[in-house]
């Protein structure tokens, strides 16, 4: 049984050395090739001074080299930090400095875009091209050098399951990104549960749609490798175009798909998908945001034989609860549950009287405990202590639990329902308002494609409600239409005062609707 992530690769390489492990942009690596390459990368990193626990960034568009880099860093005893290739350089430099990154695996083009003076901690740049054109500095190594290192073994290490494997930087709600530290054990807890629940086999073909800095990709990569299956990386330029994405899924014979709901809605509405071409698909996973019920029902009808799972969990725990869609129940469900705890994880909801709630209809804030929980945030003990708190419900030995900040409720089946962020439950004119309810009301209008409800702080009444809506057909909706529609469904104090109509809503780097930027734009309109 694996106790560190790279063992999935070495085990599968022994069993199926010639099976394809990863596909990206028309190139494939077999298990043997991936295993050998990553050994070589690990040996190169070590020879260049990367030591146990050092952070090494991965900063280039998806390619088979992405997996060579991930496993190479792990085999060197390092901690990899995936960086968004589409993020502004300033954000990338911030992250590099924040975790005192020692090495960076990147492309020549990306390297030229960085100001090396701003990132002095980096002592080694390994570029994914064979030649370093115009980048002939001693700290730059080109990919062609990788081949000169031993391929049959990797450095001797004393890595244990409690060591860090990677750091994922997420957007802090207060501006600066925060590095969530994840250990091998954190990742394995999730991967083992997935392997059991979805019965991933070597015959499966997993897509990797999510960027590597988003934890959905942990399933795509490690569950494929563990099972001896193939992971097919979706190139960024295919992901942006719905018809191309649909074609990708058909041509690559994807059997398990995992993404944010927005990507599935995107495909459903604009991908021109033909159900018979998707006959190989057997499991569809989604996470990261609420799936609008009207689209979920369409999806469930479109693919009647595919198991649909709603997965829930912050980056700090990866997935902690799950819910398998029941098509009968779906007909009358207004809200899709987040379900119940994954194996080897415990969750509970704590109410305002600091008691654990156990009865139907009761609500509370969700806490998570167990080996899935992060040890904390890189170099931020303050935030770590704020979110990873001692488990006051278990006084016999020291243990932390993660405070999610999410409000949940038990339904009559013993499943949890997600009610909203604690901080998205706002007060306006003294009323408690759930922004999610307003969004649901807007989305229930057939002409609405996307909607976001925002709370704009207001001195007089607490908060003013505004909405931003993208219709299916530009110009087909008026603000008055929408307000009338809302009036028939939600109390008047919840109806947005202002509704802005746009062609599309901005998305974060992980594909979710970017509510933070919408709120900021609304609070401080451009001069």
């Amino acid at each position: 049984m694996a106790y560190i992530l790279q063992q999935f690769l070495t085990n599968s390489a022994k069993q199926n050395p010639d099976k394809p492990a990863v596909w990206a942009r028309g190139r494939t690596l077999t298990y043997r090739e991936l295993n050998e390459r990553s050994n070589q990368v690990a040996n190169l990193l070590r020879s260049r001074g990367v030591e146990k626990g050092d952070r090494v960034g991965i900063y280039f568009s998806k390619a088979v080299e992405s997996l060579c880099a991930m496993f190479g860093v792990l085999k060197a005893g390092g901690v990899y930090v995936p960086l968004d290739p589409l993020a502004p350089v300033e954000r990338i430099s911030y992250i590099i400095s924040n975790c005192e990154m020692k090495g960076l695996i990147t492309s020549g083009e990306k390297l030229r875009g960085l100001d090396a003076g701003k990132i002095p901690s980096v002592k080694l740049f390994l570029i994914t091209e064979d030649k370093a054109n115009g980048l002939d500095r001693p700290e730059v190594a080109s990919w062609s050098e990788v081949d000169s290192f031993p391929k049959d073994s990797s450095p001797e290490l004393q890595t244990t399951t409690t060591d860090l494997a990677y750091i994922l930087y997420t957007s802090g709600s207060t501006g600066r990104p925060k590095g969530v530290m994840l250990t091998h054990q954190n990742a394995l807890t999730f991967v083992e549960w997935c392997a059991e629940e979805f019965q991933v086999t070597s015959e499966d073909h997993l897509s990797n749609h999510a960027p590597l800095h988003f934890d959905l990709s942990v399933f795509d990569v490690y569950n494929a490798i563990k099972a001896g299956a193939t992971v097919h990386m979706v190139p960024e330029e295919v992901a942006k175009f719905p018809a191309s994405l649909a074609k990708f899924i058909e041509e690559q014979g994807i059997t398990i798909w995992y993404s944010v709901p927005s990507a599935l809605v995107f495909l459903l509405l604009h991908g021109n998908m033909k159900a018979e071409k998707l006959a190989k698909m057997r499991v569809l996973l989604f996470a990261g945001e609420v799936f609008p019920m009207k689209y979920l029902k369409q999806l469930a009808d479109f693919l009647p034989n595919v198991a649909l799972y709603n997965l829930y969990g912050p980056t700090e725990t990866n997935v902690c609860t799950y819910y398998l869609v029941d098509r009968e129940r779906l007909k009358t469900q207004e809200k899709l549950p987040i379900g119940r705890a994954c194996a080897n994880t415990e969750v509970f909801a704590v109410n305002d009287q600091d008691q654990i709630v156990r009865a139907q209809g009761e609500t509370g804030e969700l806490y998570v405990r167990g080996p899935a929980v992060t040890p904390g945030y890189w170099a931020d003990t303050e935030k770590t202590h704020k979110m990873c708190v001692p488990n006051r419900f278990q006084p016999h030995f020291e243990e932390k639990m993660y405070k999610t900040g999410d409000l949940v409720m038990f339904d009559e089946y013993g499943d949890y329902l997600f009610l909203g962020r604690r901080d998205s439950q706002i007060k306006s004119r003294g009323y408690r308002i759930e922004l999610g309810e307003i969004e649901s009301a807007l989305l229930s209008h057939p002409g609405v494609r996307e909607a976001a409800a925002l709370a704009i702080p207001d001195e007089e009444i607490g908060a003013r409600i505004r909405a931003v809506v993208a219709p299916h057909e530009p110009g087909s909706l008026t603000v008055v239409d929408l307000q009338k529609h809302c009036a028939a469904r939600i109390p008047s104090y919840m109806i947005p005062e202002m509704i802005e109509l746009r062609d599309a809503l901005p998305k974060t780097s992980t594909g979710k609707i970017d509510r933070v930027s919408l709120t900021n734009a609304a609070v401080a309109p451009a001069a």
Partner: protein, 92 residues
Amino acid sequence: MANDPKVQIRQFVMENAQGRGITELGDNDSLIDSGIVDSLGIFRLVSFLEETFGVKIGDEEIVNENFQTISDIERFLAQKQGQTTGQARATA
């Protein structure tokens, strides 16, 4: 008056690219690699093209080959405008 479609397309794209700190965009620079299509959202670009140039763009035409660079978009547009207006468009 700027009638050249490329000029209009570039202007629209640049308005939205400025937020990403991009000040120059060549005819053959990739819109995806620079992240412009990401923040722009492909549908906003499609809406702009439909409204400005009076064409109807079908879902199956929203593919990488037609939108990779400003030159690609112009070529695609010219193709659309060359199509006979008498053809009925089937709606999905």
